[in-house]
């Protein structure tokens, strides 16, 4: 497919950049996302200074050491005597980039003290690092579930539309059944069947694949619609006349026509499934503590005390906005854009 729209290209680059940012979490985040600093729960975001209390300008930006106010639990004040300069490329917690390349070098950090750009949570864990690492889980959930849905949806929908008749009726009734299933309760059930001591990531991926597998019905219906009209077109009839097999026609002539529908669907489904992960974690069905994901980062907001006292705990929600914007704008630009292979009626 030719992507001719400049807008689409720009959005794609934007999204790739965002994903790369999250993918490189190990390098960009200054700390290990599960490392607790029990003396600093709910520390507010550190302000970055260039000018110190005495009015002197420093080229190297710095933060002040935050100290808990005497007799308080979560009230911090800047200790203006200790200036912590920010440095680029410092060594710190070990990580594995993309899950393979080991490293200890971080984009920025401090040599002593700590800098929490977006504050800390109730265990004193760095929120900035957690949002970046959490994004890996959430985006993986979205991409994985969407590909499962699309893969099943394309083949089932394509076959259903192409063959028609009984096959079509049965498949479409099945799709309607899937659409009507209360998936939340189904997930409660699936989670209950898993053993207690499983790798949390594995348990979570199982859940994601289940949502993805259940979500095939909607793309299947759309693909079926395209396949229905495609199979009546002259070149398909001609291919049939030449004695081509069903499988060949389906792969060579019918499914290629569904590309734009599928791409648009993908751009819609990915954010939808990211949101599904957030919902699940919010309900405690997603990935468990201490591993971060956008959903379980937000789940602490269920408590009124957190909601009213620590505004930086909302930031994971803000972090999601550019991703959602990117995907949804991409889907609309894919729909509007000039399409060489637009299906003519």
């Amino acid at each position: 497919m030719k992507i001719t729209s400049h807008k689409t290209v720009a959005l794609l680059i934007f999204l790739i950049f965002l994903h790369a940012f999250v993918l490189a979490a190990g390098f960009i985040a200054p700390y290990d996302p599960v490392q607790q600093d029990r003396d600093r729960p709910y520390a507010p975001p550190a302000a970055i200074h260039f000018v110190d209390a005495a009015g002197k300008f420093h080229v190297r930006p710095f933060v002040y050491q935050q100290r808990v106010r005497e007799g308080s639990f979560d009230q911090y004040e800047d200790d203006q005597a200790t200036r912590i300069p920010l440095k680029f490329f410092v060594t710190g917690a070990s990580y594995r980039l993309l899950g393979v390349i080991p490293g200890t070098l971080h984009l920025f950090g401090t040599e002593e003290g700590s800098v929490n750009l977006l504050g800390t949570d109730g265990y004193g864990r760095d929120l900035f690092s957690r949002i970046l690492y959490g994004g890996q889980i959430s985006l993986l959930a979205g991409l994985l579930a969407a590909s499962v849905s699309l893969l099943i949806g394309t083949f089932v929908g394509g076959a259903s539309g192409y063959f028609g008749g009984w096959t079509d009726s049965i498949v479409m009734r099945l799709a309607e059944l899937c659409l009507a299933l209360p998936w939340l309760y189904l997930l409660f059930g699936v989670r209950a069947f898993l053993p207690l001591l499983v790798n949390p990531l594995k348990a979570f991926l199982t859940v994601v694949v289940v949502i993805g597998a259940l979500g095939w019905a909607r793309p299947a219906r759309l693909v079926r619609g395209v396949a229905l009209s495609a199979k009546e077109r002259d070149f398909v009839r001609a291919a049939k006349g030449f004695g081509a097999s069903h499988f060949y026609i389906l792969c060579r002539h019918v499914l290629p026509q569904t590309r734009s529908v599928i791409l648009t669907q993908a751009a819609i489904l990915i954010p939808q499934y990211i949101l599904a992960e957030v919902t699940l974690s919010f309900l405690g069905l997603g990935i468990p503590e201490p591993t971060p994901s956008w959903g379980n980062l937000l789940s602490s907001l269920q408590q009124y005390s957190v909601l009213s006292s620590y505004w930086w705990m909302y930031l994971p929600a803000v972090a999601m906005v550019p991703f959602f914007f990117g995907y949804l704008a991409l889907s609309s630009s894919l729909q509007d854009g000039p399409r060489a292979d637009k299906i003519e009626s």
């Binding site: 607790q36 029990r38 265990y123 207690l196 001591l197 503590e289 408590q303 009124y304 005390s305 957190v306």
Partner: protein, 599 residues
């Protein structure tokens, strides 16, 4: 000023009309006649004198299920019934000691088997009907009736036999027990004395369990507590009014209670209760978490927040010490071998950072624990129990002694392995609805990571958690909390006896599985029949020591009882026993209550 007054009148007019309409039945009922009052043996309260009038508004977590004290088992029902009923002997929530209530005095025979009780004379139920020994006889007949299924029935079976009650005359009764029972007088606390004239008929017809539901007419409800039923609005509130026949007076001889009304609003979530209290809709808030407490303290306007000190709730982590059955998987059985090793449990106890739990979970409003007796319990703590600080070295030593060792993991970290080189990994269950305990489990998992143990926190819905712990026994470790209703060891007896259903680490055993559990069984039985406090304490001290040595529960922390109340409420003395705020409801009063009533 006038405008303000008018506004106030307009705003409160409907309330006045409602109050008038609702008080009609009570006007129709005979008002307490002074001749009878003169002969009444009142109990004189020692609390400071207050002033009459006003209403107190509180929120309840849920609608009460019933107003019938015999079958009430849920907390909201008990809280409401608690201010409408009275007992013969009452535990003073402030001093945690028993004191005479409806009974004028109570004498115990030398063998500890007989309790002679003399009733106060001239007392009346809230409908004006006099109280006598027949009501008490009827009450105990009902509570002990197997067909009724009263939750208190088990408590009244001492030494395998129900307590026998005998009426001597209209004001004297004798209670006989089959076996001596330590602190037998505490048994009477919370046993509401029932009006025979109202309930005898439904009881004879076998309809007692159905009577006094929430739809009962106020005129058909009678009790001996400071308040009586006025109105119930389904899904919204229950309103209680002052009982004009109450049997306590203040130091000046004025009849208590001071308040005219108590309103319980049904507010289901803790956060919604906080918002209602903050906006001034409710006057009192209890069962507060530390986070909400500090939110409320930070913006306190017109109310005061009180930290009443450590309560009786103790939180702990425990391991699955059940005998593996045929259904237990080989993996689970292998893990249970570690758990049964006392050195392993001691090592976990040494590795847990209790102070961090107090600081991060309770924001410092709690205390670290090394035994089941909390600071809130004034008389039963064994002071010999040591409170060792967290020590990873000691934990490593203990693990080494138990045959564990360490090997290098993928990164820099060390992995703890058992004798067969299996890595030590297990799951910790917590209730997903309890944020505090989930937080504790997360902190513990991080503590254990430092000695090479990989613990996985698994929040489960509470019912399925209990099912795993007590029924299927498919779990490794679990963080739970227990809150005794009384500061006496007998209230926890089902936790410590090996046959008990809440003996969580290995519940409902036919025979004690270990020698130390057998010893605890023996000691608990002994303290039950011991006659003096000192003797009982000696036995219970030893129980605490055995628990400390064997660590079936690894005790973590206890939260403080946190309450908030409007500044204009007088005589407020929050206690660490339930009901935290309302235990002295009869002497609570509103300063400037004319203003407060129009609120």
């Amino acid at each position: 000023m006038t405008q303000k007054c008018l506004q106030l009148i307009r705003r409160t007019a409907w309330l006045g009309v409602a109050a008038l309409l609702c008080s009609l039945p009570s006007v129709l009922r005979a008002s307490p006649d002074s001749a009878r009052a003169a002969n009444t043996e009142f109990l004189v309260s020692r609390d400071p004198v207050g002033q009459r009038g006003g209403r107190l508004v509180l929120s309840l977590r849920a609608e009460p299920k019933t107003l019938n004290p015999i079958i009430a088992a849920d907390a909201p029902s008990r809280e409401v019934i608690g201010v409408m009923q009275a007992d013969l002997i009452h535990i003073n929530r402030g001093s945690q000691l028993t004191e005479a209530a409806l009974a004028k005095n109570c004498k115990v025979s030398k063998d500890g088997l007989e309790y002679s009780i003399e009733l106060r004379r001239g007392l009346q139920f809230s409908d004006g009907h006099p109280l006598d020994a027949d009501d008490v006889l009827f009450t105990f007949r009902v509570y002990l009736d197997e067909a009724i299924h009263a939750p208190q029935r088990d408590l009244l079976i001492v030494g395998g036999k129900p307590i026998e009650v005998q009426k001597m005359d209209a004001y004297h009764l004798v209670f006989r027990m089959a076996k001596p029972y330590g602190a037998g007088d505490r048994l009477f606390d919370g046993l509401a004395i029932l009006p025979r004239h109202v309930l005898e008929k439904p009881y004879a017809e076998g309809k007692l369990a159905q009577s006094w539901s929430l739809s009962v007419l106020p005129s058909q409800w009678a009790g001996l507590g400071p308040f009586r039923l006025k109105e119930y609005v389904a899904g919204q509130r229950i309103v209680l009014e002052r009982n004009p026949y109450y049997w306590k007076t203040d130091a000046k001889g004025a009849r208590l209670p001071y308040l005219d009304e108590i309103v319980f609003l049904f507010v289901s979530s803790a956060d919604a209760q906080v918002l209602r209290f903050q906006s001034g809709e409710t006057d009192v808030i209890t069962r507060l978490g530390a986070e909400n407490f500090s939110v409320l303290s930070r913006q306190a306007r017109g109310y005061a927040m009180t930290d009443a000190g450590a309560g009786l709730e103790y939180n702990f982590i425990f391991f699955n010490l059940n005998e593996p059955s045929v259904k237990t998987s080989a993996d689970a059985a292998r893990r249970q071998v570690w758990f049964r090793d006392v050195k392993f449990r001691q090592a976990i106890s040494a590795a847990v950072d209790r102070q961090a739990i107090v600081r991060l979970v309770y924001q410092g409003r709690g205390a670290a624990l090394w035994g089941p007796v909390t600071l809130g319990n004034k008389r039963w703590a064994n002071t010999e129990i040591r409170h060792p600080a967290r020590s990873l070295d000691r934990a490593r030593d203990l693990l080494r002694q138990a045959g564990f060792s360490w090997k290098n993991g993928s990164g820099a970290e060390q992995i703890l392995v058992d004798q067969k080189a299996n890595p030590v990994e297990f799951s910790i269950l917590t209730s997903s609805s309890n944020a505090d305990r989930t937080k504790m489990a997360t902190l513990i998992a991080d503590d254990l990571k430092q000695i090479g143990i990989k613990a996985q926190v698994v929040p489960l819905e509470f019912r399925s958690l209990l099912d795993r712990v007590t029924q299927t026994k498919e779990y490794d470790a679990c963080v739970l909390g227990l809150a005794s209703f009384d500061a006496d060891p007998n209230s926890d007896i089902n936790v410590w006896l090996s046959s008990g259903g809440t003996h969580l680490w290995n519940p409902s055993q036919a025979h004690p599985a270990t020698a130390w559990e057998a010893e605890i069984d023996k000691l608990m039985e002994q303290q039950l029949i011991a006659k003096s406090f000192e003797e009982r304490k000696k036995n219970y001290d030893r129980v605490q020591q055995i628990l400390d040595e064997n660590q079936p529960f690894i005790f973590l922390a206890t939260p403080d009882i946190l309450v908030g109340i409007k500044n204009n409420v007088g005589n407020f003395q929050p206690a660490v026993l339930e009901p935290y705020a309302l235990w002295n409801v009869e002497t609570l009063f509103l300063r400037n209550s004319s203003e407060a009533a129009g609120k």
